[in-house]
């Protein structure tokens, strides 16, 4: 165990993670409620719906699975489609690996399970080194919300008032924006250019490929184009 030398008033990394996980917990609420509701209408039992949220823990793939079940797709097809949609996480995990504190493989294997897009977004915008306990805290809140509200949604559907349910759809986007703005304020042009390029290429690629791939290709394209522009800029600067 590491010992924290600073004053004991400083909250632990786990506690910080739990606090920063709450916005994800709120953001997952309407998504999980709707997932539970649709799972019911697709013919899954409540145990199956909750089990899927417990074992898979990936919003986009779970929605896709429901659509495919409704279309009569086979299990192998659904598993393959899930694999394809989640391929983008290779890139995100590699990025976390580069910036996370040194920890045992066992601990990394534990928090890897919780690395959804949203958990990645919160953890990866932290200063280096990203603490393992911080990631675990963020992921634990996200996971609890995801699993709990899948079950609640199955029975209660959207028990929230319509206006609130609609407005909560913005939650995860507000979270992403809240993560991006401080980095823009701190690092300026680099961050703003990369994120605009990421959004732009995602918008373009989504016309051709499924969204998981569009995010991955969009990210890679943004990194490469930015690298190109940057090296051109540097060359001009030295001439």
């Amino acid at each position: 165990m590491e010992t924290v030398s600073s004053s004991y008033a400083e909250p632990s990394h786990l506690k910080k993670g739990i606090i920063d996980g709450i916005p994800i917990g709120i953001g997952y609420m309407p998504v999980a409620l709707t997932f539970g509701l649709i799972a019911g209408t697709t013919g899954l039992t409540v145990a199956e719906a909750v089990l899927m949220s417990m074992i898979v823990f990936a919003g986009a793939s779970q929605y896709m699975a429901l659509t495919m079940i409704a279309l009569g797709s086979g299990a192998l097809e659904i598993i393959l489609a899930t694999f394809i949609v989640n391929f983008r996480h290779l890139l995100m995990s590699a990025s976390i690996h580069e910036r996370a504190e040194k920890s045992s493989k066992k601990i990394r294997a534990v928090y890897a399970f919780g690395l959804t897009d949203e958990v990645f977004a919160v953890a990866s915008t932290k200063e280096e080194p990203i603490r393992s306990n911080y990631i675990i805290g963020v992921a634990a809140v996200a996971y609890t919300s995801w699993v709990t509200f899948t079950g609640v949604g199955y029975f209660a559907g959207s028990f929230l008032p319509g206006i609130l349910q609609e407005s909560m759809a913005i939650a995860l986007y507000a979270l992403f924006i809240a993560l991006l703005i401080p980095s823009i304020k701190k690092e300026g042009k680099v961050v703003i250019s990369l994120s605009i390029l990421g959004g732009l290429f995602h918008s373009i690629f989504q016309f051709w490929v499924a969204t998981g791939w569009a995010i991955m290709f969009g990210t890679i394209a943004a990194l490469l184009v930015f690298e190109g522009i940057e090296s051109l800029w540097k060359k001009r600067g030295t001439e």
Binding site: T45, A75, L76, S93, L164, I177, L179, G218
Partner: protein
């Protein structure tokens, strides 16, 4: 619970976990060239851009819903408010706006 569905769920869980865990337990980036490390550390910003856009425009049939929500979030985040305040504030403002408009 039917067995085929359970096996399908387990299969989905495995193929979701693999790309999340492999780089974390297999990669040895210590000896990678600096440019590749730099690129990896820039992934979050490009990903955030891709996660926000164009999705934010599709949260509601009315494109302005997401647009206005996004602008409110930018303003709140600009004042360095905590994550939870930005998220709750954006939801609240949108709810109030929808109620009155």
């Amino acid at each position: 619970m039917s067995m085929p569905i359970i096996w399908m769920i387990i299969g989905m869980g495995i193929v979701t976990y693999i790309p999340r865990v492999l780089p974390l337990v297999m990669l040895q980036t210590e000896n990678w060239p600096d440019w590749s490390k730099k690129m990896l550390s820039r992934v979050p910003y490009a990903v955030l851009g891709a996660l926000i856009f164009p999705g934010v425009l599709n949260v509601h049939e009315n494109i302005y819903f997401g647009l206005i929500g996004g602008i409110i979030a930018i303003i709140l985040a600009y004042f360095s408010l905590p994550l939870i305040v930005v998220v709750a504030g954006t939801i609240g403002s949108l709810a109030v706006l929808t109620y009155f408009l």
